[in-house]
Symmetry: C2
Subunit: 331 residues, 2 copies
């Protein structure tokens, strides 16, 4: 089974946090020029991170910000994207075709494009207005951009305090959660590695991550069927198919939408005997103020999900790198 | 089995189309006052119709328009909704608690609220700035509002021509499709009424309808598991769980996102032997110009889906009015 080394996790996270000064130089300069809106562009996993960034900003901001699916942009366009727009995108390989093509089109319009392109040699890195290359941590990168904007608008007055706490404690805290997560992840994987279908419920800044965890991990990498549902939508039709044996996992975070997930977590045991509630309140983040925990909930879930993946991968003897169709066939 | 009478369908649709003058009086007056954006508010089925309205507008407009989940508004808020916003919502009963509560909060902010409240005696009808009461046809009502705005901005110069064609031919055309839809619906229902899970793929102005058809009809009313997926996202993880026997239905409409659904429809037969492609191009709409067919695709699918429902309801001897949890338990 894949293991996890705390020092590696700490270093990776601190490296991501250290991108902040480069991000801020870019955002501060862009902000001064004047702009009308902020667009998060992606597809698949990046599309999901984009949803998270928008919900994260909605907590505080009056700025216009939205996410845009790259493939949909190529056929429908989006007239809100102009030369006064900042488009933020991300790509590990830099060769996701829909993102590359959308960036080409958006460049013609004159929008400013910030790209987190992990492979700095990818062509995409030279097509964006500004490229920042550092592996993984897409959500944190997006949140750092979002937070800087909200600092500049005056909507995040304790920005410095928040990031001081992150710089001092977050990498250590989140690494500790991951290295200890097998306590939950191992029995969870034993119980669910052979599910016909697994339901995942999420809300707020965890909804995008719930969508992508179900799709990009269980469906794509474990080949297990899933259905992700927003907590607010759970009660509007979908829950009629839940019965005693339906496997359901509910992510209960600490952002403003916690009551929506709590409502599901509270009701679910009345109709389902095969549920799991993962609540960030059960996890300590020493050195992090109570008021910031909501923003950080997705990272707690991510650390836990990583270990669920490692356990399922081992039990099912299904290496997560295998794809039967994705980038393997022509489509 | 529920049958369908053409004259009834025609009358219902013509009644909905006749709402246009009342809608236009309201929109024209609101437009003159000046505004910053248009928000579509809903939950469950209305949330889905809201997604459709936004995609419909994106085809043409530079206006800022977005959808907002009512339950999420209650906990996170949305600072883009101000006293310069038009909020449009809809409710059959007028007592969907999340919508009622969100309308109360939004009223305090001073936003203008247009409500399509089917029950004109519901309290909600007196809480909105303007209420219009007529049964069903939520998507058409939303599209008529959207289209009037785009007419006023000059983004829909052939608005009058389009609605002339609708007034003259649409009710008859769409009723003809529904009364003849058992040709597809009956064998489809025979094949899929007992599916463990059914996958629905949609794009563009059909995506919201795909989401709600899977959730509000198959899950809620037939108690059959489903997974709805945007065509653009199909290739980004989800399709790895598709194999020979996985039941998949692809809606291929004629709006700008047709190429996204076509891509799925073209590839799917290589990995799946249990698929159905429903393509609006196979259905005639006499008297409707080619260029307007894309806007009308969701109505074609809706007519077909109605007959799939009637057939599944009968085969499964599961009356669609039965709910085990929804509005039956406290949650």
């Amino acid at each position: 089974m894949r293991t996890v080394e705390k020092a590696t996790l700490v270093n990776k996270m601190n490296g991501a946090l250290a991108l902040r000064s480069e991000i801020n130089d870019f955002v501060d300069n862009f902000y001064k020029q004047g702009f009308t809106n902020i667009c998060w562009l992606g597809i698949g996993g990046t599309y999901a991170s984009s949803m998270q960034a928008v919900i994260h900003m909605k907590e505080k901001t009056a700025l216009e910000t939205f996410y845009q699916n790259a493939a949909e942009y190529l056929v429908t366009g989006n007239k809100r994207i102009t030369d006064k727009t900042l488009v933020i995108t991300s790509s590990v390989t830099g060769n996701t075709v829909e993102v590359v093509d959308a960036v080409k089109e958006i460049s013609k319009i004159g929008a400013t494009i910030l790209g987190f392109i992990d492979d700095e040699n990818a062509a995409l890195a030279s097509m964006v207005s500004k490229s920042i290359s550092y592996p993984e941590n897409e959500q944190l990168k997006f949140f750092m951009v979002a937070d800087r904007f909200m600092y500049l608008t005056g909507e995040f007055p304790d920005y410095e305090e928040f990031y001081q706490e992150l710089d001092d404690h977050f990498a250590e805290d989140i690494a500790n959660i991951e290295v200890n997560a097998d306590k939950l992840a191992e029995p969870f994987a034993q119980q669910h590695h052979d599910d016909d279908i697994h339901y995942f419920v999420g809300a707020g800044n965890q909804w995008g991550a719930t969508y992508s965890y179900a799709m990009c991990y269980w469906e794509e990498q474990h080949w297990i069927k899933t259905r992700a549902i927003e907590a607010a939508e759970f009660f509007h039709g979908m829950f009629e198919i839940i019965d005693r044996d339906t496997p359901v996992t509910v992510y209960v975070g600490e952002d403003s939408q916690r009551p929506l997930s709590e409502r599901v977590a509270k009701f679910l045991p009345e109709i389902c005997g095969n549920y799991t509630i993962i609540d960030t309140k059960d996890y300590e983040l020493p050195g992090i103020s109570e008021k910031y925990r909501g923003t950080l909930s997705p990272f707690v879930f991510h650390a836990i999900n990583n270990r669920i993946d490692a356990n399922i991968e081992h039990i099912n003897r299904h290496p997560m790198d295998i794809r039967r169709y994705y980038r393997a066939l022509k489509y």
